[in-house]
């Protein structure tokens, strides 16, 4: 039994928070005691903020990074078997990794509240898909909250925990990137104290996923869905409501999540009073009566949601609705304000006017300005590693993985990427295909980051050892999970709460333990050593039909550790303008001067790591030391 006790003390202040901080604050205030996550944009700031607020408010919350989302989810959900409020946090594709425990545990009658926070990335801005996690909620038959801003996201955390506890079911909060990364003034409260002792009662049918249990739990889950849908129809007017036009409505717009906010600001700037808006904050299970009633009252209805037609597909009849089924609303990409404005104009029967200004277009063309693509940072050790790998075995195929080092694509060092951990398994697939076709084996040199190696690289490596696959796996160990903002991982050992020390897991030892017979470590900046050891590793792999591992090590630039500075310049007498350095080293600090037809150092970005001295085949990049 969870006893709600009176609020310990009330401090009421306002602060400007990132959406993710607001969510974290809600999690701590709601008395969540176990929080686990694996980082991933746009969700990464939530867990560290939970640790921060727990420290600040003196909560006992245990806050930990799992090595992947499946691990994090399983840790969190099982804590909710025991009477302790818990939450798991991940990005949308993280739930693919955690899908197995998620689908299974959705059937369980939890003892305490469990909140799954799953952050979506319409666009996408930093993801390999723009999948809609609300569909995952529907798939697993668990309720989903879709906040329109940071304030609502924080409020929903409390309701999601309460609903979870009322029906003993996992609930999902699905913020999209614009909510995660919005900055808004938010009310801060204090912790709602609750009695949450650990109490695990042995009850195998309840806590195991045997088919016999499913036969009881699945119908029960359906009944929970029916009950929750009914509650969403009537009891959640704070999230599901209609904003009525002051005049006669010509159009009704159904919105969910941040689309509500976008539409409201457009209507404000248009000063229109003939459009009704229905806001739905609980898209699954959809309060169907409420939505159908809105549709019945309007001649013309537009439905806006990101990124999949989750509400739309729950409608008994959507033929009257302008949405994705009739291709009015784009089926991919973010519904930016400009897109939404165009859609509103279109369904109101107007002429779309969004055309680029001719002068601005001409200026961009004449000045050759294009969006700047993401690049590895100046001084990034990955750049040096990719250069060594490419130069060592130019004929190799280079599968890679997900992390900052995916940007090695700019150096032509990344040939295939699927998802986290697939660098090893893609290599295995290529090895098997080469073997089957009886071709002379091309070298295979894959790259993976330290965090990604722990996340899902290890099973593939074990499989490659077991099956005798000749490949080289280069582990790029920069001592951090860089792409997502610099979280610690098992190779680092640090944990999130103050004074909470973890243990370091040694990558070399893990590889040896997996049965890898060749494991060597080089300094990433040492291009010559890197080239030599990659060659040696491939020889070993080929001769013994086994994977070989090379670890490239140097701290990430984001860690700002002190290192030698070696200022350089390009000697224009030696530079022949071949662009080799641009194409294969690709550093923001080293650019091509189109007028002079020479490479030059861009002092705005160069950090004097000195690695590029090893890059120019004509020796034109030289140290300025002593000049």
């Amino acid at each position: 039994m969870i006893l709600e006790m009176e609020v310990a003390k009330t401090v009421s202040t306002r602060a400007i928070l990132l959406g993710n901080e607001a969510i974290a604050r809600g999690v701590v205030e709601a008395g969540c005691l176990v929080a686990a996550a694996y980082p991933g944009t746009p969700s990464s700031e939530i867990l560290p903020a939970i640790a921060g607020y727990a420290d600040e408010l003196g909560a006992k919350t245990v806050v930990e990074w799992g090595v992947n989302e499946k691990v994090a989810f399983e840790m969190a959900v099982s804590a909710a078997f025991t009477g302790v409020r818990s939450c798991a946090v991940m990005k949308q594709v993280g739930l693919n990794v955690a899908a197995d425990p998620f689908m299974s545990a959705a059937h369980f009658d939890l003892r305490s509240g469990m909140l799954l926070i799953c952050a979506d990335d319409p666009g996408p801005h930093s993801s390999q898909t723009e999948q809609d996690s609300r569909f995952f909620a529907m798939f697993a038959k668990i309720p989903c909250f879709d906040p329109c801003d940071a304030v609502e996201a924080k409020a929903m955390v409390f309701d999601a925990f309460d609903l979870s506890e009322k029906h003993n079911i996992i609930t999902m909060l699905r913020p999209s990137v614009r909510v995660d990364h919005c900055r808004q003034d938010v009310e801060l409260g204090d912790i709602i104290a609750r009695d949450q002792g650990f109490r695990f009662e042995k009850d195998p049918l309840r806590w195991t996923c045997l088919p016999a249990g499913v036969k009881i739990n699945h119908p029960k889950l359906n009944a929970k869905n029916d009950a929750i849908r009914e509650e969403f129809e009537t009891d959640y007017a704070r999230y599901n409501y209609e904003v009525k036009a002051s005049g006669q409505a010509k159009l009704g717009v159904i919105t969910s999540g941040v689309q509500f906010s976008v539409v409201m600001d457009i209507l404000k700037s248009w000063k229109r009073n003939d459009i009704d808006v229905l806001k739905i904050g609980t898209p699954y299970p959809l309060p169907v009566r409420m939505v159908t009633d809105f549709i019945d009252r309007h001649e013309n209805v537009l439905i806006l949601e990101e990124t999949y037609p989750v509400m739309e597909m729950q409608l008994p009849d959507r033929t009257k609705v302008q949405g994705r089924w009739n291709k009015i609303v784009p089926g991919a990409g973010e519904l930016l304000p400009e897109v939404v404005e165009g859609l509103l104009v279109k369904v109101l029967g107007g002429q779309e006017t969004v055309t680029a200004d001719a002068n601005l277009k001409a200026a961009l063309e004449e000045l050759r300005i294009t969006p700047r693509k993401p690049m590895l940072c100046p001084g990034c050790p990955h750049r040096a590693s990719f250069f060594s790998i490419r130069q060592s075995l130019p004929a190799a195929i280079n599968p890679s993985d997900i992390g900052c080092y995916t940007l090695g694509i700019n150096q032509k060092g990344v040939d295939a990427v699927i998802d986290m951990g697939a660098s090893v398994t893609i290599s295995s697939g290529f090895f098997m295909a080469q073997k089957a076709s009886g071709m002379d084996a091309k070298p295979i040199v894959a790259t993976i980051g330290d965090s990604t190696f722990f996340h899902m690289g290890i099973p593939g490596l074990v499989s490659a050892v077991y099956n005798r696959h000749a490949l080289v796996l280069a582990i790029l160990d920069n001592g951090i999970t860089a792409m997502t903002g610099g979280q610690a991982n098992p190779a680092v050992g640090d944990k999130l709460r103050k004074g909470d020390k973890g243990a370091v897991v040694d990558i070399e030892g893990v590889c040896r333990g997996c049965g890898v017979s060749f494991v060597k470590t080089v300094k990433a900046y040492d291009v010559k050593a890197g080239k030599d050891v990659i060659k040696e590793a491939w020889e070993h792999a080929k001769a013994n039909q086994t994977p070989a591992v090379v670890i490239f090590r140097h701290p990430c630039m984001l860690l700002r550790q002190k290192q030698d500075t070696i200022p350089v310049r390009v000697n224009h007498d030696a530079c022949v303008g071949c662009k080799f350095c641009i194409n294969f080293f690709n550093c923001p600090g080293l650019v091509f001067d189109e007028a002079k037809k020479k490479a030059v150092i861009d002092e705005r970005f160069c950090v004097s790591c000195g690695v590029c001295r090893n890059v120019c085949p004509h020796g034109a990049i030289v140290s300025t030391e002593g000049e």
Binding site: I16, S126, R178, H181, R183, I266, R372, C404
Partner: protein, 186 residues
């Protein structure tokens, strides 16, 4: 008031909206904005939106920004369409000649945009030993000096002081003044 802040990942553009937010909060006003985190931060184009007043959406719609703060002049040109007619551009210039482009000048004239160029890199080379990490503070100072953004110098000084880690407090105040003086009264 709606601001769009643009630059290149790593330049620290988020600092500007932190300053603006602090000021708004102390005035009791509501704020709403949007930031970029993740992949694009790695040296790519970055954009942040910030609105003070009664807004719901975190994004500024094209043609509605009152002020555009550009840490990079190319990003300024790419995002100029966010400014409303009569809006203001504060731009860190590294290649002044490019800004003389006739089409660009025509667009700026047509839309009545006030342009405040700032040679940020030169200033930081001269006064801060070439430490370009101070660009964010410099631009906030310049915005205030140019009288753009509806914030007083006193408010900005207080906000920057509060937001600065102790280690950088003095240097930040110096750079703020440098930016302020550079565009004061232009």
């Amino acid at each position: 008031m709606q601001y769009v802040i643009v630059g290149i990942g790593g330049q620290g553009i988020l600092f500007s909206s932190k300053v603006l937010g602090k000021i708004a909060l102390s005035r009791g006003e509501s704020v709403m904005g949007s930031e970029v985190h993740g992949m694009a931060q790695r040296g790519g184009s970055v954009i942040s939106h910030f609105k003070i007043g009664q807004y719901k959406s975190p994004l500024v719609k094209a043609g509605e920004a009152d002020a555009l703060l550009a840490f990079d002049q190319n990003e300024a040109v790419r995002n100029l369409h966010f400014l409303r007619n009569g809006g203001s551009l504060i731009v860190n210039v590294h290649d002044a000649a490019a800004l003389g482009n006739e089409h660009l000048k025509a667009y700026i004239r047509e839309h009545d945009i006030r342009v405040y160029p700032l040679e940020g890199y030169e200033l930081l080379k001269k006064h801060m030993n070439g430490n370009f990490l101070f660009l964010n503070v410099l631009i906030v100072g310049a915005m205030c000096g140019a009288g753009v953004g509806n914030v007083s110098y006193e408010e900005v000084r207080n906000a920057v002081r509060e937001l600065s880690p102790a280690k950088f407090a003095d240097a930040n105040m110096k750079v703020l003044e440098l930016g302020y003086e550079a565009l004061k009264g232009v």
